[in-house]
Symmetry: C2
Subunit: 210 residues, 2 copies
Amino acid sequence: MKLYDWSIAPNPRRVRIYLREKAIDIAIEEAGYPDKPILKPDYLAAHPHRRVPLLVLDDGTEISEAMAICRYFETLYPEPALMGGDARERAIVEMWERMAEWEGMVAVSEVFRNSKRSFTDRGVAGSAEPMPQIPALVERGMQRVGLFFDKFNTQLAHNEFLAGDKFSVADITTLCVIDFAILVGLEIPETCPDVARWHASVSARPSAKS
Amino acid sequence: MKLYDWSIAPNPRRVRIYLREKAIDIAIEEAGYPDKPILKPDYLAAHPHRRVPLLVLDDGTEISEAMAICRYFETLYPEPALMGGDARERAIVEMWERMAEWEGMVAVSEVFRNSKRSFTDRGVAGSAEPMPQIPALVERGMQRVGLFFDKFNTQLAHNEFLAGDKFSVADITTLCVIDFAILVGLEIPETCPDVARWHASVSARPSAKS
């Protein structure tokens, strides 16, 4: 089994943090360059999903999508539960994780990919064809990021973690979203003190160094 | 427990098909109008996630996100497994379901929401603020839908269903994506005969009438 990773990208970090929290140790290989925003040609040619993270099982099965990779390990090693315990918890974790991805990660990516010169013709991740940048998405993406911060602040005003009183993959994805937003220049707004409190707390976990 | 639904929208249909496949019967209420593309004001005011489907549990917990709702029922009623059985199956199902959502549903939605006059200032679902339409997303969305069809055709050339030999939520989301694409005028390309074969097969299941 091997995990293809890319230490400078926000999505693979979700899996690295997850594995650290679960104390799971597996072989890891860098699929991209450390100093330029492209995946290695050999990797792209060999793996049709063209994105990282990617888990390759011993039978050759390729699992892409960060949360699908986490689901694999969560099923094998249920404790500590990072995707929820009972039905209600699992649903709440999945809801907040998916909202973090769609309302947060996608919005920050829109800002990032449509503004950087190094992403010319790479407006969408994982495409084998050139995908034009759309400058109007930068502004709309920033508006979406603002709504994401407000919504998550409301949830965190009444909860230690996103899904309640237990750390979960919803926190992992949200941490990666917010650190990506900060990298892009979108700081946590002063109007969102509960996001800031939560961010300081989860950033202090050893796994956040992953 | 109650499910808020909207019979004309593609995302709530994912949950309806799932419930029919599992033979689960729960109270359902329409949250939107049958003949115009807006949710009812009372619903929007009462439910902060502002989208459908939405499951409200007996303790008042609100679960949005179609797959989070399915996860709730899958945990309570594991058989027949529609989200995979063992770790490998669960990962493969989640991977294809998420790719169907991100590479399919999001792309078709980009075409739909950024082109329809009735969605002026509603370029993104679930936003409490006006979100401008971006005409360039229509063309890029169509390009993405083309790539989605090609990728899924490659998978279905060697598999009866998306995740292998068993029907799963990956098929449910993909069916809803493709029927939404057809509604928007994006037919299954002639170059994708395996998608067409699969589409005819899953459309013949009683659940597809949901």
